[in-house]
Symmetry: C2
Subunit: 280 residues, 2 copies
């Protein structure tokens, strides 16, 4: 199976429409139809059920969409990492972290690593929630700071760095701030103070009464205005202002910051960075 065929199939499987898929691929529709047909014949499996009005995936097609996507990521990663290994190019590392999180820990890690003998430059990329995983898998990044249980670490090698509890961030003066401890149920459905809603990885928002959050600054602003409440890891504390109050939430899951990297990595620089991180 050639990556070209995989790209074609993934395009069609995602669009469920040969014409649009062909357009997205920058080609005409007939050769695309033919290519998919050939792929099906070679595999000996029907991938798509087409009536002349609609296209749907078969069981096998769903498998190929999932596995083929991962394979394309792997190929893209191979290509990118190879390009970056050229002699002239400064053999730096790309570290990716969520924009909002990993404040102090990240700074300490970068400082400590820079002091190591043989340290290479580290590019820090801040990105949205749920995107770090994809960046690791397709080679745009070498290593990430993730937070379980929010981020999935499936298929990644991981070292735990730091575990912390979560706290409710409330507007200062809210009645609940007199409590020394809360439970999730206490903050989950306050009639006057809805839970903020984070975007999902596709950019859409879960339903609910709370405001839609774009970034941390906006969130903290909304809280101090008494328009929202949120449960966050306790390391958010340095970012809070006078308008905020925090109360521990005893039954919220603990948040573990982990350093994660794709398997197959034998880079000496990466190993050194991970070792530094675990020693912090």
């Amino acid at each position: 199976m050639e990556t070209r065929e995989l790209r074609y199939f993934v395009a069609v499987a995602e669009e469920l429409h040969f014409g649009r898929a062909a357009q997205r691929l920058g080609m005409a529709q007939p050769p695309l139809s033919r290519a998919i047909g050939q792929l099906e014949r070679r595999l000996g499996v029907a991938l798509l059920r087409r009536t002349s009005r609609s296209v749907t995936l078969t069981e096998a097609g769903e498998v190929l969409l999932r596995e083929g996507g991962a394979a394309l990521d792997a190929v893209a990663a191979a290509e990118r990492r190879t390009r970056r290994a050229q002699p002239g190019g400064a053999a730096g590392l790309v570290l990716v972290a969520k924009a909002a999180a990993a404040g102090e820990l990240l700074a300490k890690l970068l400082d400590a690593y820079a002091a190591e003998p043989g340290a290479v430059p580290v590019d820090v990329v801040l990105c949205g929630v749920g995107e770090q995983e994809a960046m690791l898998r397709d080679g745009r990044a070498d290593v990430a700071l993730l937070h379980t249980p929010f981020d999935s670490t499936t298929g990644l090698d991981v070292e735990e760095l730091h575990t912390e509890t979560q706290v409710a961030v409330l507007p200062a003066g809210h009645p609940l701030t007199t409590r020394t401890r809360l439970r999730i149920a206490d903050v989950d459905s306050l009639p006057d103070l809805p839970m903020a809603r984070w975007p999902r990885r596709d950019g859409s928002y879960p339903p609910g009464p709370g405001p839609e959050i774009h970034d941390q600054a906006q969130l903290l602003q909304l809280i101090s205005l008494g328009r929202a409440v949120v449960v966050l890891p306790e390391s958010v504390r340095p970012y809070l202002s006078e308008g905020h109050a925090i109360v521990p939430v005893s039954d919220a899951p603990e948040v573990t910051t982990v350093i994660a990297w794709p398997p197959h990595s034998t880079s000496r620089a990466l190993a050194a960075l991970v070792r530094t991180a675990t020693r912090l």
Copy 2:
């Protein structure tokens, strides 16, 4: 980058010889040379250093060999799993375990899973040490029983099933069998009783005085004959005969049996098998 190019490069990188690589690929040498050259030009990186007498990998070439191999495995996995998802083919699972190990646990797991509602047939494949990982990665298997710290679980999703200590298996009547506990150093270098040597994953054996082991039956035979000693997980006990004696080894690492599967698996059957396993 097309998988054809990747296959070509991997062949050359492994053989370090264009002629032999071409032979292995079933093609002539000139088009192979040209293809590699084109690949290098497109990537903008030299992958190979060739004098007219020898071929060596550059830094970038080593990266591409490693990452490209993983990518080819991913493509092969996509292809195999798609083929196996065809409607007619019984949608079974392939479980792979080491030939020697996982005796009772495996039987219990298969029994328990077969009793689950909606269980699918499970093909059990027994294979050599170190090969399970490759079989998971390239789609020949869906799930494996592995033993940490012996087997690498990098890049796999894992659930721990069972942890056990290790014991020294000695010939009955050997002086050490009077001890109630041993340390690794005690059995490591007995002048009269060398440690058995297991094959490495490439089939070669580490150097040393001990006999080379091909399978468990041979190993146990050699021990009862007083020609070898070995340290194994305590679950080996049911396989022992009168000619053997076991003594706990207190500082040998604990062996954990884990069930492992490749990420991206969303198979309902696999999820059920894993759930069954963790409940044993």
